[in-house]
Symmetry: C2
Subunit: 204 residues, 2 copies
DNA sequence: CCGAAACTGAACTGAATAGTTTACATTTTT
DNA sequence: AAAAATGTAAACTATTCAGTTCAGTTTCGG
């Protein structure tokens, strides 16, 4: 199937990760019991504990996996084709879709909840998740193309502004379980707003 | 001391709320044990349970209290003195201070964490917290003063933009335990940015 | 097809914790 | 001061859950 250098981790490794991901996303960190994860993964608890030292280590592995997936996806954001406005709009939509998705929210929720009592997690998430996105965004802001068409002296600040504009009240409503996942029209409308505000500030 | 119409709730009511608030803020919802709350509040567990049906009800009461405090504080935001830029800057600073504060973050953390498995909480928090702030902000955006000096056709949208601009990457870092509470200069600098971007979009 | 490594299932340990109960003490009201 | 309301301390119930152990089974490379 996939020819990655599997490192002979044992046959059930992927199964464990995948089951754990499902249960953690569904129940949160505290809410997920190791017994349930093992059952869902179709694996015995003993096997699970042969792969991971404890529940925290298991969650960290799941987190890393999810962040890597998202990282790959966001790589494609930096397609510098088209004009700036279109590129920005494309990015905003993509970011919005991820932020509003069940998976995106679930990870965020867990990390927010556990960051206090499990500092390594907060840090790991920030570094491999949002910060990573910011780094890519600010690389775009600093690119020749963007520099030519926009008036950006502080790429990081511009990236920050752009990112924040994407996280609207709607995201808060999603986080709090007050709103359902938005339809495409809503996302498009919001992306329009983001670009409009961003260009008002940084356009030439 | 205070002449509020105490409703004869029993002598230790305030003590319980205050102890509960401290422990919840320190430990999160799951992390806070009822025994610890009782000990911290200097009250017996039986007393605590004579006031509140269960742990959830106790937390809801704490939440309501905190949101009310914040509501009162944010009332003062809408001081329509001075010119628009100064008023906006004043508001941004005030919002930033609250968002970055330990208490503000702690409440947010807990609500985010519990909103899934405890939907009433998510809703209660959104309504009495952020939404309330948004309502006040958008009232400002719709006020004659703002309408005269700014170009706002959608007050709610403008309020949303303003609010989001306040929630920078720094807030994410705070949430994840990656950054310490920012100093005043940092807050001022960020408030400047917020106003600059906001006026670029909505200024005449 | 054999032996080693990986896996299973189920029982077990030990610790936490929400919520209850009870017998007694203190405070407030009348 | 008596009565009524309120509070206390501590033991108790019942449950949940992370992590371990182990005797036996499956899988797979050589």
């Amino acid at each position: 199937m996939n020819a990655e250098p599997q490192f002979k981790k044992g046959r059930k490794y992927d199964q464990v990760i995948s089951g754990a991901r499902d249960v953690f996303m569904r129940e949160g960190y505290e809410g997920a019991s190791v017994d349930e994860i093992a059952r869902d993964a179709g694996v015995s608890k003993a096997t699970l504990y042969s792969y991971f030292q404890d529940k925290q280590a298991l969650f960290l592995a799941v987190l890393q996996g999810e962040c890597n997936i998202q990282k790959k996806a966001s790589m494609e954001l930096a397609c510098q084709e088209q004009d700036i406005a279109t590129a920005l709009h494309h990015m905003a939509s993509s970011i919005l879709c991820f932020l509003m998705s069940e998976n995106g929210l679930a990870i965020f929720r867990i990390c927010v909840a556990e960051a206090q009592r499990f500092p390594k997690l907060g840090q790991a998430f920030y570094e491999t998740g949002p910060k990573n996105g910011m780094v890519q965004l600010s690389a775009f802001m600093a690119s020749p193309k963007a520099q030519a068409e926009l008036n950006i002296s502080d790429p990081w600040g511009a990236a920050d502004t752009f990112m924040q504009l994407c996280r609207s009240d709607l995201m808060l409503q999603r986080l709090m379980g007050v709103a359902d996942i938005p339809d495409e029209a809503t996302i498009k409308a919001h992306a329009d707003e983001v670009v409009k505000t961003f260009l008002a500030r940084y356009g030439r």
